[in-house]
């Protein structure tokens, strides 16, 4: 119990940490989150549709063996390149929390989730000269955004016989971007400016999911989700609406050997529904996205599957909000991870490391995403 408390304290220490995206999250609503636990992240996301600790598939809640709480943190070490230069940046985020478990005497499971839907955290620095009173004055600008949209979900799963599980969830999409723009002048007779604002978002979504096992070694999962329209306010004044996407996903899981399980999933999101809204507001629009992932979990000791399994995965996908119109970005990731369970499997830690490459034209970045997840079953 002491270890559990210690780990929870450690994980909760940087309480001021904030979500962070990438330079590909500067436009539109930001960089989409993945709603995955560290367990699923370490497999490239390939197990996400089967993972009750993730918030991708409400039917997967049926997989909770008992009341479980999951908390994950991520550190992002990123190297950014664009026509303005290069930079190494580093951020912390807490992209996924979930609580769920079985309801006694019923084939039902209930889950609450808190996921990062999109994150729009960045500080961009630019230098330029502007003509003022017939003189060119050098200026330095920074635009900062912190925040994004969060996905608060409540889901329920119902197990039908042994092999079927279906689920549904309701999502509240809410969040705030605290944005600021600063400008300083090389000629100090011009006073530096600082403007701040809050852009808040509100929307709802619903999701249906299923899982079907074909014997002990093969399973299929699928989801369909609609997120409706998000209302966008600036400092409490209604400014616009943005269509949020439909999401469709399909996953496969295959236990090749007792020690080896492989999985794959594909997700398709209709972000192009937001294209006209974003263009109308002066943005760069949005494109549909897809993501395919493949990964596996190798269990050295089948009698103790939670003892240091080796997880691995690869994924490839596209990002919804181009930096320039028509320049959709893509990302590719390789991941690896493991975990331990202790205290009679009432607590555990999962670790995952993913190396991600993102690129669109002259813009690129590569990042190491180090994730730590803490699982507690009281």
């Amino acid at each position: 119990v002491r270890r559990v408390i210690l780990l929870l304290l450690l994980a909760g220490t940087p309480a001021v940490g904030a979500a962070q995206s990438s330079q590909f999250g500067v436009r539109g609503l930001g960089l989409p989150g993945r709603s995955l636990s560290v367990h699923a992240l370490a497999t490239g996301g390939s197990f996400g549709l089967f993972d009750p600790e993730s918030s991708l598939n409400p039917a997967a809640l049926a997989g909770f063996p008992a009341l479980t709480a999951v908390f994950s943190g991520m550190e992002d070490f990123r190297h950014v390149e664009n026509p303005a230069g290069t930079a190494s940046v580093r951020e912390s985020r807490f992209p996924q929390m979930a609580v769920g478990g079985q309801i006694r005497r019923y084939p039902l499971a209930l889950g609450l989730g808190f996921s990062n839907y999109t994150s729009r955290d960045f500080t961009l620095a630019t230098a330029d000269t502007v003509p003022l009173r017939d003189i060119l004055i050098p200026v330095h600008d920074t635009v900062t955004s912190k925040g994004g949209l969060s996905d608060l979900s409540i889901g329920v799963a119902y197990r039908i016989q042994e092999h079927w599980a279906v689920g549904g969830s309701f999502h509240i999409l809410t969040g705030t971007n605290r944005v600021s723009a600063h400008r300083s002048f090389a000629d100090t007779v011009y006073q530096p400016t600082s403007q701040n604002s809050e852009i808040s978002f509100a929307g709802v979504g619903v999701e249906l999911g299923m899982m079907r096992s074909f014997g002990p070694r093969f399973a299929v999962a699928a989801i369909a989700r609609s997120d409706g329209r998000a209302r966008v306010d600036r400092d409490s004044a209604d400014v616009s609406r943005v269509d949020l996407p439909y999401t469709f996903g399909l996953g496969l899981r295959w236990q090749v050997r007792p020690k080896l399980t492989l999985a794959s999933q594909g997700l398709f999101r209709t972000w192009s529904g937001a294209n006209s809204d974003l263009l109308e507001q002066g943005g760069t629009g949005a494109d549909n996205t897809f993501e395919v992932a493949f990964g596996g979990e190798f269990t050295p000791d089948v009698r103790r599957p939670a003892r240091r399994p080796l997880r691995f995965g690869v994924r490839y996908g596209s990002l919804p909000f181009p930096l320039v119109i028509g320049g959709q970005a893509h990302e590719f990731g390789l991941s690896i991870g493991s975990g331990v369970r202790f205290a009679q499997e009432r607590a555990g830690i999962d670790l995952g490391v993913e190396h991600v490459w993102r690129a669109a034209g002259p813009y690129s970045e590569r990042a190491f995403l180090v994730s730590v997840g803490v699982t507690v079953r009281p």
Binding site: T13, G28, R90, E91, A181, V189, F321, L323, L351
Partner: protein, 403 residues
């Protein structure tokens, strides 16, 4: 060990610091677009830019003016000392005394350090001199017959006390005959190798002239009772100006012996008042004529925020109470260039508080104690030069909502 490693890793990761800033270029990485600046020019409300006069009377400023041939003005200073009684009470008996010597001390506040051979001449003038004195009534008395003494000021002395001591028969030049009221008044004029002027101390400045008499009292004693001194401070001082110029009503006048002030009233456009971020605001004043003063002793033009618009008696921000809302700049002697005052904070004040009128009060320091007298163009159609202008550079709200 494994658990310790895991816990250690978690601790290291959890303790990491954020570093978010990365370079960017537009338009790809400029959500909302570049920050755009705008410029506008505001003119004072026509007919509502006015000058007011005589805030500080001559002689009530921090210095007195004395000049000789100076282009800015021709001035004479006047001091009148406190009454010196013609007897001293010693052991309950009023006793006569004789004056052995006299010390007269002046305080040199400023001079043109490039003009050498400065001499300050002290003349006895009628003791009834007061605030009604004029150049025409004082100057004729400044003749050799009334000369008390001449103080040669070394070229190396730029400020500070200058004094003269009268001994022997010279004491008679500062003598106060019995029955004349015991008052000594003197007028000052200067000469130098070139036309010049000086500023000397005054009552308001706390450094007016002093008049000390060293006496021998008619008592059978050889100590301090017999040898005493009487120190007399200045009771009244002023300066008089030849051909005092009357302020031109078509111009905005500040400074001068009339210590004029001017008020400029503007109307801030709604766009600026409501939502703009003021980056720079510059008040431009066009001199109507060369702004003459004492070379090397520039006056200071001050622009004050107006706390309430009550015309000539408007309360204004002061350096002591609201230093952020007072803008100053020196006026070089003889300048004809447009004067520019950075009044950004004042204009921002108009935005921040609707209680603060969009007006600026101009005055010249030291009031009634500088040779400089400035006159600027106004909104009056008869003004020979253009009116003041307020150049405002500003930003509109950044369109954060553009995704």
């Amino acid at each position: 060990v494994g658990l310790a490693a895991v816990v250690g890793s978690a601790a290291v990761i959890s303790a990491c610091q954020e570093k978010l800033t990365s370079p960017a270029e537009c338009p790809g990485l400029c959500p909302g677009g570049p920050q755009t600046l705008f410029e506008t020019v505001l003119s004072p409300l026509a007919g509502l830019d006015s000058s007011f006069h005589t805030y500080v009377a001559p002689g009530q400023g921090s210095a007195l003016l004395v000049s000789s041939g100076l282009a800015a003005s021709e001035d004479r200073a006047v001091y009148r000392f406190v009454t010196r009684q013609d007897s001293i009470t010693v052991r309950d008996t009023a006793r006569a005394y004789t004056v052995d010597s006299v010390l007269i001390t002046l305080n040199l506040v400023a001079r043109d350090t490039l003009v050498g051979g400065l001499k300050v001449m002290l003349f006895r003038i009628p003791p009834a001199v007061d605030s009604t004195a004029t150049f025409e009534s004082v100057d004729p008395a400044l003749v050799d017959a009334n000369l008390i003494d001449t103080i040669a000021v070394p070229d190396s002395v730029h400020s500070g006390e200058i004094k003269t001591v009268l001994r022997g028969s010279a004491v008679d030049r500062a003598a106060i005959p019995p029955g004349t009221g015991g008052v000594l008044a003197m007028g000052l004029r200067v000469t130098a190798s070139a036309p010049t002027g000086i500023r000397v101390g005054s009552l308001a400045g706390g450094n007016a002239a002093t008049f000390v008499s060293y006496l021998t009292v008619d008592v059978p004693d050889t100590g301090s009772v017999r040898h005493q001194f009487l120190s007399r401070a200045t009771e009244f001082n002023t300066f008089v100006t030849q051909n005092r110029p009357l302020p031109d009503p078509t111009l905005l006048t500040v400074g001068g012996d009339s210590s004029s002030r001017s008020i400029l009233r503007f109307e801030l456009p709604a766009q600026l008042r409501d939502s703009a971020t003021i980056v720079r605001a510059t008040l431009e004043l066009i001199p109507a004529h060369p702004l003459l003063g004492l070379p090397g002793d520039p006056a200071v033009l001050e622009a004050h925020a107006v706390l309430a618009d009550l015309g000539a008696k408007s309360p204004i921000a002061t350096i002591a109470s609201n230093p952020l809302f007072v803008v100053t700049d020196t006026i070089p002697d003889g300048t004809t260039d447009t004067l520019r005052l950075e009044v950004t904070r004042l204009v921002k004040l108009w935005q921040a508080s609707t209680d603060r009128p969009p007006a600026i009060f101009l005055l010249l320091q030291p009031e009634a104690a500088t040779f400089t007298r400035a006159a600027f163009g106004s909104s009056n159609p008869a003004s020979p030069v253009g009116p003041p202008r307020l150049l405002v550079t500003y930003q509109l709200p950044f369109p954060f909502e553009i995704p």
